[in-house]
Amino acid sequence: MTVLLVAVAVLVCSGLAALLASGSPRAATALGAGGAVVACVIGLIAAVPFLFGTPAESLRLAWNVPYGTFFVEVDALSAFFLLPIFGLSALAAVYGTEYLQAWRGRKSPGATWFFYNFLVASMVLVVLARNGVLFLVAWETMALTSYFLVTLDHEQDSVREAGWTYLVASHLGTAFLLAMFVLLGRSSGSLDFDRYSSANASALFLLALVGFGTKAGFMPLHVWLPEAHPAAPSHVSALMSGVMIKMGIYGLLRTLTFLGPPPAWWGWVLIGVGLTSGVLGVLFALAQHDLKRLLAYHSVENIGIIALGLGVGLVGVSNGSPVLAVLGFGGGLLHVLNHALFKGLLFLGAGSVLHGAGTREIDHLGGLAKRMPWTAATFLVGAVAISGLPPLNGFVSEFLIYLGAFNGVTQRAGVAVPLLAAIAGLALIGGLAAACFTKAFGVVFLGEPRSEHAARAHEAGAAMRWPMALLAVGCALIGFCAPFVVRSLASVLPLVSGLAPETVGEKLADAVAPLRFVIAGSVAFLVLVAGLAWARRRLLRGRTMAETVTWDCGYAQPSARMQYTASSFAQPLTTLFAPLLRTRCKLTAPEGYFPRAASLSTETPDAARVALYEPAFSGVGWVLARMRWLQQGRIQLYVLYIALTLLVLLVWKLG
């Protein structure tokens, strides 16, 4: 426990030191990033034992805030979420040292590192906090520091807009959390987590779902996500998408631990939320042209998969089926870790593309695999992993969720319908995600460059390459050590599912058995790949190997502009799902005998934003505009308002 608090202290101190050293960019970077890496390593070392049987440790100090105590604890659930926080933060910090060079002279790295380290520290504290006030303070710090990181480029209108959306969404979510904690505190008389009782649990569940769901990015609460992630510097996007949105999932799980046995409909709701987020998330991702926006929508999709897993788990708990509970929660939790790895990797890769080619427009890129071989290879690993394909880690977590759902389908009639919906949804999401990532990888890295930017792209430096490589290794490692990783969930699952540790252990052993076969298959697959590669090389030895232009069906001069673009690649699917996507299309068709300039541009704005929030907010704006007569701009009048209010309050209180 103390070691973890030392890590937090190191983060805070190094952040402050970086801020003080703003005058010298080099010193600020060294202090900020160095402090972050050191703190993360310390934290990792301290957190891991709690996953493997070390009993939970807590620390309670008095605090001068009403209802607040400085009450922190680390148990297996906290430790599980600490892993991605520390791991990804350290790698992203290393990446950031080089990535932030692009801002040299314009921005002081001191302030950026200050906010970065405070963001990491606040996330650690969110996971450790066991008191409502402390939790909310950490939660707010997390929102504010990330807001300042998102608006690093605040000179641009779009970035300010994105930051504003994020700030508003984040605070609306927090309002629900505040209500939840007030309700919890009222029924139990204290805001310490260990004293909570589970009176009117369903209302609390719904408040938590909305409040934490806003941070996690459940559809349709996700609106801030596709705005804020692209606007932030890429290493911050990686951290936000890989870890910060998971704090929403953590919050939901932590809340479940004090709500008592769940009724079945909670599971149904989570499965419904998961299906909506998953399918719509990947569909909107398909329709995007901006690489980072595409990745942001994929975060919505993956949060959907996590919610599906948790939903399956809840259905299992409420129906008294431990297999379902263990597989569902296990798959969902493992997907949290996996998503941190591959989404972190992909955002860092996107940052490397932006760094090297200067644009995020997918349709302006192409052929980067030749110019940026490292980035291309690691991005491919991330793309395969996020598509849930074996032998990488994405498959393992989706496999567990599938297995849970299939188990329920074969054994019970009552719960079969939502589980079948989960299977169908996962299958559709898997297919669409593969479509989306063949598009993203294929159009950005393969083929010929579509613009000058792409043709002049250069590979990132070592500080940016190594974090990506390590994350790619992590994806493969979890894929191949799946049984070990899954068994480490044994201490986490009893907390979230409320099952006895023995039952969990037994069911986990059942889940691990098929994973061994999956790995046997993966190893055989790798051996086959190696064998076939060797065979191909043997066969081609000494034969003619010509190089020529791409065969374009008789056309001798294929040019880069004739390639399929990202938009054309996704067109069949976007047309098929047009009623959901509502893509706006602007076409100037060629006309006449001597057609001149023609153009086509498509844009897919967020449906929830356009159909839900904009009308709602403009309605609120309209109402408030009606109140404008109150604002006269005269100081006398405002004094009168204050006096009147005080008078009314006085009368009300005394009357």
Partner: protein, 303 residues
């Protein structure tokens, strides 16, 4: 794992190109031609394996990796599928999920290799491939879920070993619906009519063939062999449902299943001879229709 488990993968390795020959002979018979030799696919393979290769200057290692990864993936899939009541060499709870995803891995790399050429035609084929397979995937997995629910097993080997004529007597309609849906999935996944015409000569209308336009030599041989194996794997799923013959003698059972495999090939040939290719816009309807059949089957199993 029994020694007899390896009968099926060996048969698949040896006989899968023959399926293509049978399909082509059926089509030739319908058209009144004598057609190519039944062993044509073998001749093609051996010719391609003896050739050199031509590569586009645009391509990278991804293009060269595509056929290798694709073939390795479909070989793994072959090891997952049982035939004739014998368990597959790799049989475990949930292997049906791995099967669907291994085929997805094959597709991912085939599509990436196609995009690597920078050709608009290959991009077009790749785009169609991912579209149709995304729609076929739910039908495949839900169809297998229906069978899993009927037989109470979560492993392909267990599911197919539990199949018998008795299952058909009890749940004939469900199995018939699933079979029909799996047939549609087979036709779509293997780029056969009415989804894609393997014999067309117009690049604009092709799906699978246009994706592999640039491959040559051993690479193309790998792709051709991989396609034959994929057809075999999906046909084996179908035959296991349709012909649950259990005599007690492994060799007889496998023999019956083999007959079934070639009957499926003939059926594909008949479909190809008697139907025109659907308009591309209609293909999603066909696949969603297959999904609707499976949904109906599931509803029947749930009551």
């Amino acid at each position: 794992m029994r020694a007899t488990s390896f009968i099926h993968p060996l048969l698949a390795l040896v006989l899968s190109p023959l399926m293509l020959g049978v399909i082509n002979r059926t089509k030739a018979w319908f058209a009144g031609r004598c057609g190519q030799p039944v062993l044509q696919a073998y001749y093609d393979l051996s010719k391609l394996l003896r050739k050199g290769a031509v590569y586009s200057r645009t391509t990278t290692w991804v293009f060269r990796a595509g056929p290798i990864v694709g073939l390795a993936a479909v070989l793994e899939a072959t090891a997952l599928v049982p035939l004739g009541g014998e368990p597959a060499p790799l049989a475990f709870t949930g292997d049906l999920i791995l099967l669907a995803y291994v085929l997805g891995l094959m597709r991912f790399f085939t599509v990436a290799a196609a995009l690597d050429t920078g050709s608009s035609f290959e991009g077009m084929g790749a785009s169609r491939e991912v579209t149709f397979s995304a729609l076929a995937e739910p039908a495949l997995l839900l169809g297998l879920a229906a069978v899993a629910r009927l037989t109470g097993s979560l492993s392909l080997s267990g599911m197919y070993a539990a199949m018998s004529l008795e299952t058909w007597r009890q749940a004939g309609p469900v199995l018939a619906l699933v079979t029909a849906a799996l047939m549609v999935v087979l036709l779509a996944e293997n780029a056969r009519l009415p989804v894609d015409d393997p014999n067309t000569h117009l690049e604009l209308t092709m799906i699978h063939e246009v994706m592999v336009l640039d491959h040559s030599g051993p690479d193309l041989a790998f792709i051709l062999y991989g396609a034959a194996l994929k057809l075999w794997v999906l046909a084996a799923l179908l035959v296991g449902l349709l012909l649950p013959v259990r005599t007690g003698n492994a060799w007889l059972d496998v023999g019956a299943a083999l007959g079934g495999m070639f009957a499926v090939a003939v059926a594909v040939g008949v479909v190809e001879s008697s139907m025109a290719r659907l308009r591309l816009l209609r293909v999603p309807q066909l696949l969603v229709g297959a999904g609707a059949l499976v949904a109906l089957a599931l509803i029947l199993t749930l009551r």
